[in-house]
């Protein structure tokens, strides 16, 4: 067979290495490859893939309940295509060999599948709960189709069991250790997560993170709602990168239903996506100032972020939760007048950005706090499969917009920002420079936006099939895997947010650092939190609900006296 496309090349490479174990392979779309292998050949296939593509990173592991068996999909990005290696394990005895030993970045995804579907990964170093609470009943796996919330049993469990997470160590290598719990509620954390730090004086010896405090069961809920409703559900996965989530889900649904999206809608999505990125990055840079005790920087950056939020509101109708993308297009059009206003606003932001760049580059206290702190080498970054600015701060090329273009990024002129240092400072600088690139992209998109409709009508029912969609969210690669079963309801929606991919590297970065570095390093990973602008007021007695707009608040504000 003559090798013509990169996708076929991937399949040919895999066939040459582990041909005996491959049951079938297909290329449904450009840059998407599916390979089904015999069960228990997963490790062999993965190591063959890693050997052929040393820079391959694992995107996620999706488990799907398909009746008698549980299907396990390993999604890899190998530089040319997103390769899905698929195998099945029987539901009666769901055991499969771990790949954590050859690819440490898979550890959390295996724990997730174990937690929600009950698949046992043999030889996994630490196969404990990742998302569900410790008191969750054993043998109760919510993502299995036969799972019924009524038969879960006692959900309260013992409180003690829920509270004591992670091993308290009082001694290591003969030296005494102090155990400090940070979170779930802590001034440095903006969303609930729990870290057990083991300290030797001021130096961090080890850390055990515990996630899942904000688990809302969105993947399960998505199966109960129709596709067009799920757009609004996934928007609420994250308040900051909501545009990335809707865009990603809509792309997956469109690929599933073979829906042609009007080119104008693609450009509009790009504009909102980049506005979202600017606001997210500015938010983080401000927070970074706050975490290292530089309050003025925080206040200034957040003031300039307001420009972007106002522009988002004018374009989409909402300040933060854009509700903009929908399956088959976008919900609102861009007028030329608004286009000019966006341009003017962004040029102002760009001007301010030069100043902040100078601050980050030359301020001695910022340099002391972030340079050479929390170093993640390129090799470790690849092994741990980190994504987004964290990977690019370590010099790993990982921009989905560049390597797996979607929306209007194929033609957009922009640079992939890479820093080689791998420290906190580099990760912050990546974001600062990316804001600049994002502004350029928006300016270009407004000038070159094609005419025509911005939305097509789509049927509610989606055909049977599967689609995997990737976008570059502000925090890194975001993956949505959607499977349809011929109805208006999806069979399975799998979401892998970038923070889950990055949090695994925190342990690597923080070891040997000082206690004071904890917030500085954590913030460079960009932990996310959401904010809303309008308050809903409820009168307890009458039950009346009303909303105050920003204008009302401004009018009611007392200035001076």
């Amino acid at each position: 067979m003559k090798v013509t496309t990169p996708e076929e090349e991937v399949i040919a490479t895999m066939k040459a290495a582990v041909g005996d174990y491959i049951l079938e392979s297909k290329i449904p779309r450009p840059r998407r490859v599916y390979i089904r292998i015999k069960s228990n050949a997963n490790k062999r296939a993965v190591s063959a893939l890693l050997k052929a593509f040393p820079h391959a990173i694992i995107s996620t592991i999706t488990g799907v309940d398909i009746g008698e068996d549980i299907e396990i999909n390993y999604h890899f990005w190998c530089g040319k295509a997103e390769v899905t290696i698929r195998t099945e394990v029987p539901k009666s005895n769901p055991e499969i060999e771990t790949i954590t030993d050859i690819l440490p970045g898979a550890a959390l995804y295996e724990r997730e599948v174990h937690d929600l579907l009950g698949v046992k990964f043999t030889n996994h170093p630490n196969l404990t709960r990742l998302i569900l609470p410790e008191s969750w009943p054993k043998e109760s796996y919510p993502l299995r189709k036969d799972w019924n919330p009524k038969h879960v049993g006692d959900l309260n469990g013992s409180l003690e069991e829920t509270l004591i997470v992670g091993g308290i160590e009082t001694e290591r290598n003969g030296g005494p250790l102090v155990n400090v719990v940070v979170g779930p509620q802590h001034p440095a954390l903006h969303e609930p997560e729990r870290f057990l730090f083991k300290l030797d004086g001021e130096i961090v010896v080890d850390v055990e993170p515990r996630l899942g405090y904000a688990h809302r069961g969105i993947e399960k809920a998505a199966e109960q709602l129709m596709f067009f409703q799920d757009v609004h559900l996934v928007e609420r996965v994250c308040g900051i990168c909501n545009v990335a989530h809707t865009t990603c889900f809509c792309q997956a649904a469109e690929a599933l239903g073979h829906i042609e999206v009007p080119p104008r809608a693609l450009y509009l999505r790009t504009i909102v996506h980049e506005l979202n990125r600017i606001h997210s990055h500015l938010l983080l840079l401000g927070i970074a100032g706050l975490e290292i005790g530089f309050e003025s920087l925080f206040q200034y950056i957040w003031r300039d972020r307001e420009i972007v939020l106002d522009l988002t509101e004018k374009l989409t109708g909402n300040r933060v939760m854009a509700e903009y993308s929908t399956i088959g297009g976008v919900r609102k059009d861009l007028t030329p007048a608004l286009g000019n206003e966006i341009k003017r606003g962004l040029l102002k932001v760009k001007d301010r950005l030069n100043f902040y760049r100078e601050v980050f580059q030359s301020d001695p206290t910022i340099e002391l706090r972030t340079k050479d702190v929390g170093i993640l080498s390129k090799e470790k970054a690849l092994k741990l499969c980190v994504v987004g600015p964290v990977a690019r701060g370590s010099g790993v090329k990982s921009d989905v917009r560049k390597h797996d273009p979607y929306a209007a990024y194929e033609d957009a002129p922009f640079q992939e920002i890479l820093y080689k240092d791998g420290d906190s400072w580099a990760r912050l600088m990546v974001r600062l420079d990316e804001v600049n690139e994002s502004i350029d992209i928006i300016l270009w998109a407004i000038d070159n936006i094609p005419g025509g409709p911005y939305r097509t009508r789509v049927p509610r029912r989606m055909p049977e099939g599967e689609a995997l969609s990737r976008v570059e969210a502000p925090r890194g690669e975001l993956v949505h895997y959607v499977r349809g079963n011929g109805t208006a309801y999806p069979e399975r929606v799998k979401i892998r947010s970038p923070t889950l991919a990055n949090i695994i590297s925190f342990r690597e970065m923080i070891r040997g650092c000082y206690v004071a570095d904890i917030p500085a390093v954590l913030v460079s990973l960009d932990p996310c939190f959401s904010c809303t602008d309008r308050m809903v007021f409820v009168d307890e007695k009458s039950g009346r609900r009303w909303v105050w707009s920003m204008k009302d608040l401004r009018d009611r504000r007392r200035i001076g006296k």
Binding site: V181, G293, D363, R369, V515
Partner: protein
């Protein structure tokens, strides 16, 4: 000192407790407002004209809040340390000439500079004990940081405080202040700068606010305090800032002395004193606004490698240059 009416009036009302308490609240407001304006914010603006009553409202609110003592805390120390630290700082301010003389209506004694410096060092130990006694890991780390930071920075602070004493030829606060016809800050700016940096560290202001770094260790040594105890801890922090500014004003800016335009001179002296304090606070706040927080190892290394040698060099420089600057002082008269 006899217990007569004047003595009681001076200690309790003016220029003693009540006056100082008002000054502390005012300076707290001033500090917050100045910081807010530099950060593009409003700052306190609701309570009273320009929000001037906000600090008082905060303290009243804290006094009414529930007071919780952790089960494992050392009860006695935990209860008493906030009050002791506040009292010590207040007592130290009593030693400064506020309206020309100090609160006890005399000119102090030879060596009261050493007394206030010693009292403050003692107050730091009390703050350390307050954190240590609350048996909370954050408080523990905060307390250890206080002791590491203050033991280090007390040395350059005391050394650079000796510069003015050397030029004035006295260890009495009043004499140092009254001998400055031209402020020492202008005559020996090198000592002034070293002193300000050490003071910034003593007051736990950015970039030295390591002992109560919010994003790292919540509120440091003060994490477990609530209600009345927290009010006293905060009050003693605010008093400490007044103390630091008063020390700077007395040693380097000529204390309360200046031209008197009408009777009584005490009124003019008080005005000068307050204005100089506000000037020092504004200086400290500007530094705070443009700095990120350092790490404890930076703080310690910076102290032993840069600040202490700088303090020693500055005092040597002062000694060498004193024959040349002495005429300067006299010429201004």
């Amino acid at each position: 000192m006899i217990l007569d009416g004047i003595f009681i009036f001076r200690t309790l009302i003016y220029p003693g407790f009540l006056f100082l308490f008002t000054l502390i609240l005012f300076c707290d407001w001033f500090e917050r407002k100045i910081m807010a304006r530099m950060q593009n914010r409003m700052g306190p603006s609701y309570t009273g004209p320009f929000g001037i009553l906000q600090p008082l409202a905060d303290y009243v609110k804290l006094l009414t809040k529930e007071d919780i003592t952790p089960h494992h805390a050392k009860q006695f120390l935990f209860t008493i340390t906030p009050i002791i630290s506040f009292s010590i700082f207040m007592l130290s301010i009593f030693c400064f000439p506020i309206d020309g003389v100090n609160v006890f209506s005399d000119y102090g004694f030879e060596g009261d500079l050493l007394l206030v410096l010693a009292l403050v060092t003692f107050a730091h130990f009390v703050l350390f004990l307050s954190g240590w006694s609350s048996s909370n890991p954050y408080s523990g780390i905060g307390a250890v940081r206080i002791i590491t930071q203050f033991i280090g920075y007390d040395i350059p602070l005391i050394i650079s405080a000796l510069g003015p004493a050397f030029l004035a030829g006295s260890l009495s606060l009043t004499k140092i202040a009254s001998s400055q016809t031209l402020p020492f800050a202008i005559i020996t700016p090198w000592t002034f700068i070293v002193f300000l940096i050490s003071l910034q560290a003593e007051l736990e202001e950015d970039p030295f606010d390591v002992p109560h770094a919010e994003t790292e260790i919540v509120a440091g040594y003060g994490t477990e305090f609530s209600g009345r105890k927290l009010a006293f801890i905060r009050l003693s922090k605010d008093t400490q800032i007044i103390f630091g500014s008063a020390l700077t004003a007395t040693l380097f800016l000529g204390g309360p002395y200046g031209p008197v335009f009408s009777d009584p001179p005490g009124l003019w002296f008080t005005i000068y004193f307050v204005l100089k304090i506000l000037f020092v606070i504004a200086l400290l706040e500007i530094v705070e606004a443009v700095c990120a927080r350092l790490r404890i190892d930076h703080v310690i290394n910076g102290n032993w490698r840069i600040i202490i040698p700088a303090a020693l060099i500055s005092i040597i420089l002062t000694a060498i240059s004193s024959p040349y600057v002495k005429p300067l002082m006299e010429a201004a008269i």
